[in-house]
């Protein structure tokens, strides 16, 4: 049941026109440009949202345009693509709202243009209908992030940007190789429902290429090494953009490739799940431990993000339906949780200039709302019910049990303990303690710009709200998607 539709191309077109508009609006009118960006992102969301009903009914939309030989630019919208593109547009709008009052010091126009370009391309990545179209969007997105990392043009940020750039190029080359392998084996580069790839060295090579390319983007151990430097140097909104959206495109790519290029049978037969599993466990444990050791708040968040993305690949590697539900749900859960943490960190850095965790003691009295939201997100990350990550962990654990390897749950538990160990002290030293007690009387509103507060609030509410609704929509969708992959 395939129908050709105009929506995906229209959304891409609209966003690209907005990008041009933002660029030509110039440096002085950058604030107005931001509101136009939000309007355009929201419009795109509404346009895509009209398709929800049909896509939920099992329809898959495709559209092919003859503009990029030899394969053409193709889009495909199934539930996974639609859900993620809606999510990216939504989070993109929230981040742009945050950007309105974020002081970048210089280069507003450049930063904003690239910001929107990355959101657009991330949407393109998840809507792409074949490996080549995905490659196009993926590349534009990856390379342009370079500009955000180098934004401050300090020595350290230039170094971080180079590191990022070289690794990205390395990833692209491997991706290219992998697609070539796939093409030579099957003569097609599109998603397939039934996996037809034969086992063999070329297939293995292709799998490794994809894991390297997407894993690099997702910060999968041991390809994470660009992350902490880039995050430490990039302005906070750029870090949020990368952590919330770009990381997820890597995870999305892996999910797509595992299920719609190689297929479950091949995964099980070749034992690639184990490879992915080992890398994920490496990510989770190494990332958590590094985060624990890190003294700088943005860098701690970076390492923690690495651990969290490990959950997604962990669930993918189990190759059971429940575990995949956990992975998919974690995409939403992590966006809400980490988004809150990063935006709060950004608010703290903007307001007080403090980046070191040791300097944050007592900050709760200066910025009570920010730190309250930070604490909520910190508790979410530990996996307490009814917050999102509890649901992730629940499904991942069920998946692990289905796969007959109960002891792998201890990886998740260890990660939870470490999460508690590196987030909760920030929260309670911010509010409590003898020297803060005298400050309680002086508790004041923190006078953050309204746009920052709203964007933080939206994400923080997202950490907990889904559980209180009669239907947990992300969870239902994740179940539907996973059921589709495991028919």
């Amino acid at each position: 049941m395939n129908d050709t539709l105009w929506q995906p191309a229209f959304v891409q077109g609209l966003l690209f026109i907005t990008i041009l508009g933002v660029w030509s609006a110039g440096e002085r009118r950058h604030k107005a440009a931001l509101y136009v960006m939000i309007a355009s992102l929201v419009t795109s969301m509404i346009i895509l949202a009209t398709l929800i009903q049909d896509v939920l009914g099992g329809k898959v939309y495709t559209a092919v345009y003859n503009i990029l030989p030899p394969f053409g630019l193709s889009f495909q919208l199934d539930l996974l693509s639609l859900a993620l593109s809606l999510l990216f547009l939504f989070v993109g709008a929230v981040l742009v709202l945050y950007l309105v009052t974020y002081p970048l010091q210089q280069g507003y126009r450049r930063f904003q243009t690239v910001f929107l370009l990355i959101i657009t391309c991330a949407t393109g990545v998840v809507m792409a209908g074949d490996l080549m179209s995905l490659f196009l969007f993926f590349e534009v997105m990856s390379v342009s992030f370079f500009i955000l990392v180098i934004h401050d043009q300090a020595q350290a940020s230039v170094a971080a940007a180079y590191k990022y750039l070289y690794m990205t190029v390395g990833g692209s080359v491997l991706y290219f190789m992998a697609v070539a392998c796939i093409f030579s084996l099957t003569g097609a580069v599109s998603w397939s429902e039934a996996a037809t790839l034969p086992a063999g060295p070329l297939t293995t090579l292709a799998f490794l290429g994809f894991v390297a390319a997407f894993g690099m983007k997702a910060g999968l151990f041991p390809l994470h090494i660009w992350m902490s430097d880039a995050y430490g140097q990039a302005p906070v909104p750029a870090m949020a953009l990368s952590s919330l959206i770009m990381l997820k495109t890597g995870a999305y790519g892996l999910i797509r490739v595992v299920h719609q290029v190689f297929g479950i049978e091949l995964m099980n037969q070749q034992g690639w799940g184990t490879l992915l599993l080992v890398l994920s466990i490496g990510s989770i444990l190494y990332g958590s431990l590094c985060a624990f050791a890190e003294k700088d708040l943005p860098r701690r968040l970076a390492y923690s993000g690495m651990a969290q993305v490990g959950y997604i690949t962990f669930g993918l590697a189990m190759v059971t339906p429940d575990a995949l539900v956990g992975s998919l749900y974690h995409i939403v859960a992590h966006i809400m949780m980490k988004g809150t943490l990063i935006l709060c960190a950004g608010a703290i850095i903007t307001k007080t200039g403090k980046r070191k965790i040791s300097e944050l003691a007592g900050i709760g009295t200066q910025m009570p709302l920010t730190m309250a939201l930070f604490s909520l997100a910190a508790l979410t990350s530990v996996g307490l019910p009814p917050m999102n990550i509890f649901i992730t962990k629940w499904y991942l654990s069920l998946g692990v049990l289905d796969a007959g390897q109960p002891f792998l749950i201890f990886v998740l538990l260890a990660s939870s303990v470490l999460n508690a160990a590196y987030y909760l002290p920030i929260s309670y030293t911010a509010f409590f303690g003898e020297r803060n007690r005298d400050l309680h009387g002086a508790l004041v509103g923190e006078r953050l710009p309204a746009t920052m507060v709203i964007s933080m609030l939206i994400l923080a509410v997202g950490c907990i709200a889904f559980s209180f609704m009669p239907q947990n929509i992300p969870l239902d969708w994740a179940r539907t998607i996973a059921a589709g992959f495991f028919q």
Partner: protein, 488 residues
């Protein structure tokens, strides 16, 4: 209407906490009224459910909340109601006591709103119809109680608080692990009398995961180590609740687990009951022995709680009619007596500022009512008839003999003896100090210089330690027997 009572008892305190936070503008009376009403509604709702407990009904509706991915359903079966009455009653009295105790303290809004939330959470732990609801409220309670433990915010409290928080997080993860395995095995998490999960290696793993989770909450050896830190650090009314109520949620978890989720075969196949029994015995002896060595009164009481929770676990682990009865009665009597003792300790600190037992010579003349209450509660602790704890020890002893494990009686007797050794000196010193030690001159009797709410709530708890013996029938025994009979 009766079927709405479980949900009212849980949500009323939570709702009033929200009202308090939203509308509190520093008015003392407003704060007191809102807190009392919120807590009182929950207490009344729990009391109103007692007829259902007597007739063995289950109250509640099928209305479900949340999608996490499990719905939370509020239902009260006899066991739930038994616990809910004890918990909400303890909270109500502790809140009255707090008005006096915290009058000169800071952060009132935080304290009272969190007391209400904690009350809602702890009643929620027992009033939900599945293990998942239990877990949900369990975690809520854990987080809010952290803020109450660190209320003083001095260095000791912060240290105790961190220790408590991290152990609680680990306990929560233990319960999580058990929960997920249980669901994997059974595909459900509700309570069915007799249990529905049979023996398997995974079931054993789940049981021991729960052992860590519920054991930590209950203050069982060797995961009791947070307890002696947290109790002295917390404000006295909350220490009373920690010991009298919060520890009992761990025991409640064990009861649900062993009698309603896992079949006795599964529990025995995992040797879970034996392990629990051994740990209970160690907990009793170690707690009593360590309590003997403490000079700080609240620390002594904290270790004594460790010992007392051992009795409860012992009763649960023995798996028989009388043992469970003993455990339930002991939960009831310990909530009263340890509540009274902690409130006394708080009263002493408030009036005289003295924390150590060695400084308390002759204190009975300064605060006679408080120290009389302390005396009553101490007598209960030792298990002298007709005080409440005598009955629990009696049933536990009977059950031990029935199970053919006579040495357990020796453990109980030894522990009672130790109780006497560390409580009676306090009492004796308070009323009959050695002459010359507190200066020459006549000893004059004065009244307790404390807010009336503090004195009366303490005295009330202490009187209840013995009053039930003079009411026929002895209600706690009747109710515990009903619950226990339904299970065996």
């Amino acid at each position: 209407m009766r079927n709405q009572l479980p949900i009212i008892s849980v949500l009323a305190p939570l709702l009033f906490a929200v009202i308090l936070v939203c509308f509190y503008r520093g008015h003392d009376t407003f704060k007191k009224i809102i807190t009392l009403v919120g807590s009182g509604i929950s207490l009344l709702a729990s009391l109103a459910m007692i007829p259902a407990l007597v007739s063995g009904q289950t109250l509640g509706t099928d209305a479900s909340f949340m999608s996490t991915p499990f719905a939370v359903v509020f239902q009260g079966d006899p066991l739930s109601i038994f616990f809910a009455v004890i918990f909400s009653f303890s909270f109500f009295l502790a809140i009255i006591y707090s008005f006096g105790y915290l009058a000169h303290s800071h952060a009132h809004l935080r304290y009272y709103s969190l007391m209400l939330v904690t009350q809602g959470a702890i009643v929620g732990v027992v009033m939900t119809a599945s293990l998942f609801g239990l877990f949900l409220f369990f975690e809520l309670m854990a987080i809010t109680s952290y803020f109450l433990v660190i209320h003083e915010e001095d260095e000791k409290a912060m240290y105790a608080g961190s220790k408590y928080l991290f152990m609680t997080v680990v306990a929560g993860l233990g319960v999580f692990l058990g929960l997920v395995i249980t669901y994997h095995l059974g595909g459900r998490l509700d309570f069915v009398s007799g249990g529905y999960i049979s023996a398997s290696p995974l079931a054993s793993l789940a049981l021991f995961a729960f052992l860590v989770g519920f054991g930590t909450k209950a203050g069982m050896f060797p995961v009791h180590i947070w307890l002696p830190e947290a109790h002295p650090a917390a404000p006295a009314p909350f220490s009373a609740l920690l010991s009298g109520s919060l520890l009992k949620t761990g025991a409640y978890g064990f009861i649900r687990l062993m009698y309603f989720i896992y079949t006795p075969q599964a529990v025995r196949a995992a040797n879970f009951d034996t392990v629990l029994l051994v740990l209970a015995v160690i907990t009793i002896l170690l707690g009593s022995a360590l309590a003997l060595r403490q000079d700080q009164l609240k620390r002594r009481l904290a270790y004594s709680s460790v010992a007392q929770i051992g009795y409860v676990l012992l009763g649960i682990a023995l798996y028989s009619h009388y043992a469970l009865m003993g455990a339930l009665i002991h939960i009831f009597s310990h909530a009263l007596m340890k509540g009274a003792l902690f409130l006394c300790a708080g009263a002493i600190i408030t009036q005289t500022g003295k924390k150590n037992v060695s400084e308390m010579k002759g204190i009975g003349h300064q605060m006679p009512i408080t120290m009389l209450a302390f005396t009553l509660a101490s007598l209960t602790m030792v298990g002298i008839p007709p005080f409440n704890a005598y009955y629990s020890k009696w049933y536990l002893a009977v059950a031990s003999l029935e199970a053919g494990q006579g040495y357990l009686v020796a453990v109980l007797i030894l522990s009672s003896l130790l109780n006497a050794l560390y409580y009676f000196p306090v009492v004796v010193n308070a009323f009959f100090p050695e002459r010359g030690k507190i200066g020459a001159g006549k000893i004059s009797w004065v009244r307790d210089e404390l807010p009336q709410g503090m004195v009366y709530s303490t005295a009330f708890l202490a009187i209840l330690c013995v009053a039930f013996a003079f009411i026929q029938p002895h209600w706690p025994i009747v109710l515990a027997a009903k619950i226990s009979t339904a299970l065996f």
